[in-house]
């Protein structure tokens, strides 16, 4: 038997003929829609897929996307980036975090800037890499600036568990883990207010983040179809997955259903990964409130270490040097409206001019998973073509 290759795992999900066929099917079925539908793809990974593969070009005008707040880097408020910066500038600290968190500018600069000013900042692929860094630097405090949604939370919990087992005591944690359903609910609240004030409706349905659901289960989205009448399809991240997810949503509208469905059946179950959920519960508890960049305070939308782990909680240990004053975005930046689905990146005055991936003003331009960065990188052609047609 031929050995399984990595490309076997994704090739079918990018198959041109399948994409064309799905496109035709959606066009045909969507012709029966009574009005256009606005689908919020909550996760930045989906935004990236939609833009990178040009999926909007394969869909009818009646299917519109609203790009949601599911980008862990984008929603991090500036004051917390300042925390990371302040920690990194401590002479005894090695600060480690994931991916493009190091590019996000806070009020004093980004972690990249801190590094160019002498701080020891590292990015890791897996939080478990921290074990090695902590062992190799016994005379330093190694701080893990933990970010991400339900997807990355269990990795932080596993790191804490392993470090404790191994007796590593120079590893501290600054926890910024956030959860998906709370901001989704808040956005629908926005919509209710908007309706009352006579604004036209925005979010009609959701494409649910699926890596989140691998851990937390699809069950976390149950209230949306049941209580709010908003269909949810939990979809995978390959272009065929997203197109199939859209088709499933279109069919719900045509058939007058409002249900929670799973397209990404190869990884997602209703219950999720129960042992990961137990591990998270062991170390973390809900914060009463967390300020999201662009969205403001959302109750119970983030996690922190439980009180009994105060001795490894960098937020408590370094409380004196960590500023808590909220810092707002640049006045011209409309990331908040974009994250709420009230505006598109192009509608921003500074998009692609003062605000670019190399010099981002707002959070959505910072991470490659942010809506503005995805539009900047992949979307301009479409925009120009539309403009010249108009």
């Amino acid at each position: 038997m031929r050995e399984l290759q990595l490309r076997d795992l994704y090739e079918r999900f990018r198959d041109p003929a399948t994409l064309q066929a799905l496109s035709e099917l959606i066009h045909r079925e969507a012709a029966g829609l009574k009005r256009p539908i606005n689908i919020m793809e909550v996760c930045g990974g989906h935004t990236h897929t939609i833009m990178k593969y040009g999926l909007k070009q394969l869909l009818p005008e009646s299917i519109r996307f609203i790009h949601g707040p599911g980008c862990p880097v984008c929603i991090m408020p500036k004051e917390r980036i300042d925390h990371a910066y302040a920690l990194a500038m401590q002479p005894e600290v090695i600060l480690a975090t994931l991916g493009d968190m190091i590019k996000v500018p806070g009020s004093k600069g980004s972690l990249q800037d801190a590094r160019s000013r002498g701080a020891d900042v590292r990015f890791v692929y897996s939080p478990l890499d921290l074990l090695k860094i902590a062992r190799e630097n016994p005379d330093k405090k190694v701080v893990y600036f933990a970010i991400g949604f339900e997807t990355t939370t269990p990795m932080t919990a596993a790191l804490i568990e392993q470090a404790r087992k191994a007796g590593i005591d120079n590893l501290l944690y600054h926890i910024n883990h956030v959860t998906v359903p709370e901001p989704m609910e808040m956005l629908l609240g926005d919509r209710r207010e908007a309706q009352e004030s006579g604004e036209k409706s925005r979010i009609d349905a959701f494409i649910g983040p699926s890596h989140v659901s691998v851990i937390a289960g699809a069950k976390i989205y149950r209230p949306f179809p049941e209580r709010y009448g908003r269909p949810v399809v939990v979809s995978g991240f390959e272009p065929v997955d997203v197109m199939e997810g859209v088709l499933m949503l279109v069919r719900q509208f045509i058939q007058g259903r409002s249900e929670l469905e799973i397209q990404y059946k190869r990884s997602v179950t209703m219950e999720g990964n129960l042992s990961a959920q137990r591990l998270i519960e062991k170390y973390f508890e809900r914060r009463e409130n967390f300020r999201w960049r662009g969205l403001g305070e959302i109750p119970r939308s983030a996690l922190r270490l439980k009180e009994e782990y105060a001795q490894i909680d960098a937020e408590k240990i370094y409380a004196e040097i960590l500023p808590d004053e909220p810092i707002d975005d640049h006045k011209l930046c409309i990331c908040g409206e974009i994250l709420r689905g009230m505006a598109q990146p192009y509608e921003c005055k500074v998009f692609g001019k003062a605000c670019k991936p190399s010099s981002p003003l707002g959070s959505c331009m910072v991470s490659s998973e942010g809506a503005c960065a995805a539009y900047y990188k992949y979307g301009e052609l479409l925009h120009e073509a539309r403009r010249s047609e108009a």
Binding site: Y10, P72, G99, G109
Partner: protein, 332 residues
């Protein structure tokens, strides 16, 4: 621009370009520099002249080492102007404590690569600095080559030209990234690090008349194509499905969220030439070991001058942008 230099400003992409144009091009402006070619064309078009510095980590990587790289880098820049590499200088900055044995291996490798180009090092300089001032060894080479075919230039890409790539893309960037970050893979990806002059010579001998050639180093194929688009005010149309990418490189990109078009190469080049010459050029390129995957990847259009358009196999298209920022893996 920032108050201090960031790593992103050395990435071969947008930040790098801004730094160079702001701090070097303006104060040092002259007619030759402003052409911004791979190598400067001097002495009435007879000679090509260029320089390159090398600070790679790790020093020895699958498929090459800093010695080989320092010859390939400079000789390839000359070759891309249709020039036969002739004379090189070598500058060496050594960190106190650097192992002599490693230095010996680097110089041996450098010497082997010179032979492949038929070039010689004719002058040099060595400095030793205190521990911590550099990371092991930094090299600089400058080179002079004799231009055999005049007019090959990034600003000479013409409407209707076929665009070819000499082999599968992204290997050097992927190999260095995997090596530096200790990513263990079942089959290690090897750098494409190689001298291009033998291939260029064979192409010229076969009567191929390239309008432009560009080795796709930092910033990868994306940066090279964008340079052509800007210098020649054309719109390269690239067929995404035709871009040759090895399974190993595709795998690294898949896992880390990179794009092969943004990864560096050190022995891979792009050609723009009259379309009728494409089959013959492919035949010549594929004769060279490692270049069996040479391919026509697109053509030169004029729909969006200055921009590169990438067309997918399912009928959608997007701009291929100049890569920005430091190469960082995505989060979830």
């Amino acid at each position: 621009m920032n108050e201090s230099i960031t790593l992103a400003q050395g990435n071969g992409g947008e930040e790098n370009r801004d730094l160079i144009s702001e701090l070097f091009f303006k104060p040092l402006a002259n007619e030759i520099l402003e052409r911004a070619e791979d190598a400067a064309v001097i002495e009435g078009g007879r000679l090509a002249f260029t320089t390159d510095s090398f600070t790679v980590s790790p020093l020895f990587f699958p498929g090459g080492d800093i010695g080989k790289l320092s010859v390939c880098g400079t000789c390839n820049d000359l070759a891309m102007m249709g020039a036969r590499p002739k004379y090189l200088t070598l500058g060496v900055i050594l960190e106190e404590g650097f192992e002599i044995e490693q230095l010996r291996r680097i110089v041996e490798s450098l010497s082997r690569e010179l032979a492949r180009n038929g070039a010689s090092v004719v002058a040099g300089d060595t400095k030793v600095v205190p521990k911590g001032s550099v990371d092991g060894i930094f090299l600089n080479t400058s080179g002079i080559g004799e231009i055999l075919v005049p007019g090959i230039s990034a600003s000479n890409v013409r409407l209707g030209d076929a665009i070819l790539v000499s082999r599968d893309i992204g290997r050097h960037g992927a190999a260095i990234f995997a090596g530096r970050e200790g990513i263990e893979l079942s089959s290690a990806v090897e750098s494409d690090c190689a001298s291009l002059w033998p291939m260029v010579e064979a192409l010229l001998e076969a009567g191929i008349t390239p309008h432009a050639m560009r080795d796709a180093t930092r910033g990868g194929v994306a940066a090279a194509l964008n340079e052509w688009a800007a210098s020649s005010a054309v719109c390269p149309l690239i067929d995404e499905g035709a871009l040759p990418v090895s399974d190993e490189v595709a795998g690294i990109c898949e896992m880390l969220g990179f794009e092969a078009t943004a990864l560096a190469n050190e022995g891979t080049f792009l050609l723009a030439l009259p379309p009728q010459e494409a089959p013959r050029a492919l035949e010549v390129l594929r004769r060279f070991e490692g270049n069996e995957s040479a391919a026509v990847i697109g053509e030169v259009g004029d729909r969006y001058p200055g921009r590169v358009v990438l067309q997918s196999q399912w009928g959608t298209s997007r701009f291929l942008e100049l890569p920005t920022g430091e190469l960082l893996p995505r989060i979830c």
